[in-house]
Symmetry: C2
DNA sequence: GCCTTGACTGTTATTATATAACATATCATA
DNA sequence: TATGATATGTTATATAATAACAGTCAAGGC
């Protein structure tokens, strides 16, 4: 898990490199799987990558519309759903919002750490977690397909700022 | 955790006793903490307890309205939020719905198992789970306040029915 | 070449979920 | 019983999401 840890930090978005790397990885993934990463979809992913926090569908729509894409909700929802279904983005239910996947390389069960103060969302790899849930569910005879884990709290930067 | 296991099953709602027991426990809890379990609030909890799956706020509202309580959304939302804040109910974000807490006795971090087929929601005690998340979060310097864990899959009954 | 097919994009219209703001009523207690 | 805090109810509105349908466009069969 040591290389997971790198993608784990509360991102400060100080460098452009990571976003570009992620975008490139997304394109590889799309090519490999025969997905069509069309202009709207690609741009939607870029918008999410550039955003500091998670973005609501209507925020994304506003940006897309300003750039000449469609102006109506389904435009944003379709692109976002495509990204989510193909593991390029995640939906944060607690915020009714979406965020780019920060490690699109491997399929994964991620947990999300939502900072109450700065509203940024960090994607944490937590393999033990799905193991623990799997065990609990198995006891109940429940077969798990997908899991959502969302933690609300305070990120390192905000904790320090307050101290 | 052996006594947790009992409250863990996919509830078949075959007996009235559990619901009554939970309601009684809720009243104890309210009394002990000086909460006001008013008629709307109490009735809202009953409605959730009688429901088979989780209920949307507007479903609850419909029932409340039919019984002479207020007819507008805030009536339901306020009662539901009261119950959630005081650990007597849970909000299931994936479903935009609410469910009665099935073990209101102890404060707990619960995980929810949502059956895709029958849409019922089971509350699973999963202490290891919050431990695992806590560890992952700590690594990122993140302080966790509250966690939501929701698993989508298939419950025992529905798995068997399909077999 | 051209036509069919299916996936994608866009639209209008509508539905679903949730909250703000304010008036009235009720309770706890001084 | 007057008073402040809490609760209930209302109207109005904000926010989030989807249904249904029309036009576009590229890929493959003929």
């Amino acid at each position: 898990m040591s290389d997971e840890t790198a993608a784990f930090c509360c991102p400060d978005h100080s460098g452009a490199a990571p976003a570009e790397a992620i975008l490139a990885a997304a394109e590889d993934k799309a090519r490999a799987r025969g997905l069509r990463l069309t202009p709207v979809r690609r741009r939607t992913l870029e918008i999410l990558l550039q955003a500091h926090g998670a973005l609501g569908a209507y925020d994304v729509l506003e940006r897309l519309a300003a750039e000449g894409f469609g102006t109506q909700p389904p435009v944003a929802y379709r692109a976002l759903n495509f990204l989510v279904e193909n593991g390029l983005a995640h939906r944060i239910r607690r915020l009714n919002a979406f965020t780019a996947c920060t490690h699109p390389g491997h399929d994964h069960r991620a947990a999300f750490l939502i900072c109450e103060t700065c509203e940024r969302v960090t994607e944490a790899a937590a393999p033990d977690l799905s193991k623990a849930l799997g065990a609990a569910a198995a006891q109940a005879g429940f077969t798990v397909e997908r899991v959502t884990v969302e933690a609300v709290g305070r990120c390192r930067a905000c904790t320090q700022a307050r101290a």
